[in-house]
Subunit: 421 residues, 2 copies
């Protein structure tokens, strides 16, 4: 049983590898045409998509999935529009592959160029949102990578329908039919098999909850780029403009608490805590935000409903209207708190003191470190990278927003006239 | 037992992580001074080094290690000189950390800079050569990374002596004492523990034989950059300058057959095979090279001693005076042969036809693809990168020669004046 499933997954991987070898010669126009016909295919198959999605929704209700889960699963007209719009945005973005990053002439006459090329075969592991199928397939296609998609079992009908639209578009195009493939089974073992196929698959990107990401990282022989949790910190320094700090603290917690670039910890220097904490807490509680305070913050905030913070609270990604508050006695303590409890995603200092800002920027070990701005800007579009496949919390290959260029690697091309040694 | 070993390894990792956080603020001068005093320490401790090395050599003989193994283990005066020279070369190389790779002003006024920074904590797993201890510690230190070194058990006395010299130099310097640490035990389990500590260790680089590299890749939860085998191919196209092809074929096999950028497969287009193969084979056999021929090549080379090639021969890294020969009927067949049997390290085409060369350069999927030159140039110094930690056969993060810049990652620094959303 498992043997035949293994063979099936291996076949998918071999076909993807073959497709990737011919995809690297595809022109930008060919890739854009394919994206365009996928977009048209989605537009003209709304009815089919809704029908197949209904099957998933019915199954979800039968299995008693949470309302939030069912909502993520639902393909509304707006979400279908957003997929189409996303594909058309990709068409407008420059082709990352083929760019010459560097050329040098060596003393022995060799001309060495470093050229950006697709990674090869990318496996995307995700959960319930069916729109991820189109977003990821599009990003991989535009960057010249073959993709193997493994969506959540709850969305299998929606995903199969979306991938059939992609398959039709690829069939009509000069691009290889196997440029985008979906693992067509919901068997759990299929994922385990995929993670062992490092001979054919070059990179795995898990997108989803902490459980999924940890499972993939622990079980994959294929290199993984993790898009892990965002425990983002906002540090309000003794020299901060408190009005600015207040606006940034409130907006970066309450604006959209469920996203990874929202803050989870508010770190305040003790000399301004008595002035700053009550005013920011007033606004936070008005917006329904629960306050989790360390001892010092708790004693300052006696007039507010707070609960005492445990060590674990400071390392948690709440993804909710909940904020942990820590009072520190110095910049050094703030930096070491951020490096200990943050997840290396995004952290910010609010201060008018340039020297202290520079120390924070240099010493905080995160993908994105801010001075006098909200962490909510960590995003491919905000950074000018265009569409993103996610925010990498890893350090190797891609760190922070991961766009089309980060879906590429490079190779060296060396031209000589007979050199040997 | 194993629990206390785990705690010991975890302690080492925690100290390395702490050291890496302060190393990122070290100045170039501080790092260079430390490298200089390690070099001086090695020079003035030759006697100690030789004595400790003798213990390893005696143990090796006792255990009946092969002569090649014992040779790799031996710290000769020349090898000690080479370590010192290597450290001084590192001092002269530019500091990779801190360089601003890109800056942009966004429409909302945010100034976003992408800055090169050390990766953090790097684990180096290697085998018997004690000089790797100094090479790798030096490269990591210069790039601002804390390193955890795990050498082969055969070299433990030599490695402990080398690391005690490093420790003395670090103690005198403002750099953290734990910037370089050696796993002080030869217990096998120590490696397994290290590979699970992804909370503190950011990258593992295995250097050694295929067995070691596979073990690390399969068991590590920490991201791995593999320096795997080099199955390099030389393709002699129908339009090749045969004299050039001959010189390159012979030198890139026989010059130094034991290195990863030497060729293992000679691929020849059928239309020139009858003219080219006998002349190149004459020279190869004169140099003692064994010829492993596919059917067509074998029938052309009836006057030479050849043995028939199996499919497995074409995928093997011989590291020896042995060459597999394959005759193909077209450029396409050559490219698909190279992509199937090569290891993605270095491949070359010899041709006077620009169009065919360009197709080969584009479609061959390897870290370094050559036109009219030997694959033997794949090397950090030859590429102008300076000292290298190895040649990555992976695609993510670093591909091909991996120097100081490739031992770094980047982070984004974002400066605002109160922006939020």
């Amino acid at each position: 049983m498992s043997d035949s499933l293994y063979s099936e997954i291996k076949e998918i991987a071999i076909r993807a590898r073959k497709a990737s070898l011919s995809l690297c010669s595809a022109t930008t126009a060919e890739k854009n045409d394919a994206l365009q016909s996928i977009a048209r295919g989605i537009e003209s198959n709304r009815k089919l998509l809704k029908e197949e999605n209904e099957k998933d929704l019915a199954m979800a209700e039968e299995h008693g999935l949470s309302e939030a889960m069912v909502d993520r699963l639902r393909l509304t007209h707006e979400r279908i529009d957003a997929m189409v719009k996303g594909l058309r945005q990709l068409i407008d973005l420059p082709d990352p592959a083929g760019a010459v990053l560097e050329t040098k002439q060596r003393p022995n006459g060799l001309e060495i160029s470093k050229v950006r090329v697709p990674i090869g075969v990318i496996g995307i592991i995700y959960e319930s949102r069916p729109n991820v199928t189109i977003d990821c397939a599009g990003l991989c296609l535009k960057s010249g990578n073959a993709s193997i998609l493994r969506g959540g079992k709850e969305a299998i009908h929606s995903n199969l329908a979306l991938v059939s639209i992609i398959a039709e578009a690829l069939e009509e195009s000069p691009l290889p039919d196997d440029a985008v493939q979906l693992i067509p089974t919901i068997e759990r073992e299929a994922l385990n098999h995929l993670l062992t196929l490092d001979e054919y698959v070059h990179c795995i990107i898990p997108r989803g909850g902490a459980g999924l990401i940890q499972f993939v990282a622990e079980n994959s022989r294929v290199p993984v780029i993790k898009h892990y949790k965002g425990v983002c910190n906002l540090f309000v320094d003794a020299n901060a403009d408190l009005e600015m700090a207040e606006k940034i603290a409130v907006s970066s917690k309450c604006g959209r608490p469920g996203v990874c670039n929202a803050i989870e910890n508010l770190v305040v220097e003790s000399s301004i805590a008595e002035e700053f904490l009550p005013r920011v807490s007033k606004q936070l509680t008005e917006k329904g935000c629960e306050l989790i305070a360390d001892e010092k913050a708790g004693s300052i905030l006696q007039d507010f409903p707070t609960r005492p913070a445990s060590e674990q609270d400071f390392a948690e990604e709440f993804l909710d209207l909940r904020l942990a508050i820590k009072v520190v006695d110095s910049l050094e303590e703030a930096i070491s708190f951020v490096n200990q409890y943050g997840s290396g995603h995004s952290d910010s200092i609010i201060t008018n003191n340039k020297k202290r800002a520079e120390a924070f920027l240099k010493e905080v070990d995160a993908s994105s470190v801010y001075w006098n701005a909200s962490t909510r800007f960590t995003d491919g579009f905000e950074f000018g990278l265009g569409a993103e496949i996610g925010i990498s919390t890893d350090r190797l290959h891609a760190r922070g927003p991961m766009g089309l260029e980060e879906l590429c690697t490079y190779k060296y091309l060396i031209i000589g006239n007979g050199q040997f040694k």
